[in-house]
Amino acid sequence: MPTSRSATVTGLTLCLGLGLTGCSAHLTTASTVPEPPPESVAVTPPPGEPQEDQAVVQLEQRHRHHHHGGLTRFISMSLDTLGVEDEKRPQVMRLQSDLEACLTPAREIEQGLLMTLADGIAVGAIDKSRVDGITDSLEPAVAAEKDCSATALDQLHAVLSPSERIALAEKVRAHFEVWREVNYQERAAAGGRIPRLGRLARELNLTDAQVQQIQASLPLAMTTQDGTFKRRQAEERLSEFATAFVNDRFEARTISSYENREIGLYGTKRMVLFYEAVTPALTPPQRQQLAEQLREFASRPPAVSQN
């Protein structure tokens, strides 16, 4: 019996020891892998940046007014700053042109929409039936983008190195997060701050009364909107795409998550609702200024980067 008890204690000690060893190994691994570079430390976020970053401000403006293309557009924009090796640049630029070509039908419809909104804002009344007609025509154009861009995306995957694929997936995620922050106004429905309105208030020098008037009418407008943005679903799709893209084998057509419709249409509808709510609260000079701004956004050509 003592022998048996001793064996039990030894066994338990061994088992616990193995567990702690595993634990220790795991802790070491978690704080340093994979392949720890010299002297690296985990990050805690520092205080926010005091001054505005103009590159980010301009990016946010772009994401506020151009929604067509969804994920494909985020991929194309990510190529602007991917920083690929010199010898790959011509190929990457050609593939970015191919992606942009697939986005052209939806982009032209969106330009028409922005011009229509600008005309309506200038005279103080947006033509809702005309705007709805344009928005409806956007849907098939956005739906066609996936098939059109699949080949270019497959070729892009083949051209990029594993680390460039990681960077691209990270940038697509970053564009999505910026787009979501400036367009997804869930907080507005709960009476929270509307990011887009804050920017507009600064640009047009809106009074507090004007801001309150717009703020009050926006949640009402949004509750009457058809469809809602499924944030969790969008994030899961994005993660699925990112995971697939960093793999060695990739085939765009087989990825169900590679989907532009939700981001493209949701963003467009929200943009329309926003300007419909804003227009009645503006003075004539403010309306002219905003209309000019939208015309300017509409007229910007698609860019193919020099990266």
């Binding site: 193995l18 570079p37 010299p38 590159a55 301009q58 403006q61 700053t81 920083g83 680390s163």
Partner: protein
């Protein structure tokens, strides 16, 4: 009868400890994951990375950052390649990409 019950108890204890030893490392490691949105998404979307050791790196607020799973990390002591990257490429810092009027222009990052 008594012996059988004791054996059963011992086996159950063994199984519990063994299971704990397998689960505990993963559970404890979770506490050490650092998951922060930094550098900001807007910065990542407008700045080309520098590739080093198979990872994209971003120079932000005077530090080189890279992603490690769900965490961002920086170097206490910058590797030579990164420390000299911009100087050796005749740059003052990261290029930024601007989407304003006439976009597609690059400027050098200063902070």
């Amino acid at each position: 009868m008594m012996h059988a019950r004791t054996t059963t108890l011992r086996r159950a204890l063994f199984a519990s400890v063994a299971a704990l030893s397998l689960v505990a490392p993963a559970a404890m490691a979770q506490q050490f994951q650092v998951s922060v949105g930094f550098p900001p998404f807007g910065f990542i979307a407008t700045t080309p990375p520098v590739y080093y050791e198979g990872r994209p790196h971003y120079y932000y607020s005077n530090r080189w950052y890279y992603r490690d799973g769900s965490a961002w990390r920086y170097y206490r002591q910058d590797p030579y390649y990164l420390r000299n990257y911009y100087g050796s490429h005749h740059l003052h810092g990261p290029q930024r990409y601007y989407y304003g009027r006439g976009y597609g222009q690059h400027y050098y990052y200063r902070r």
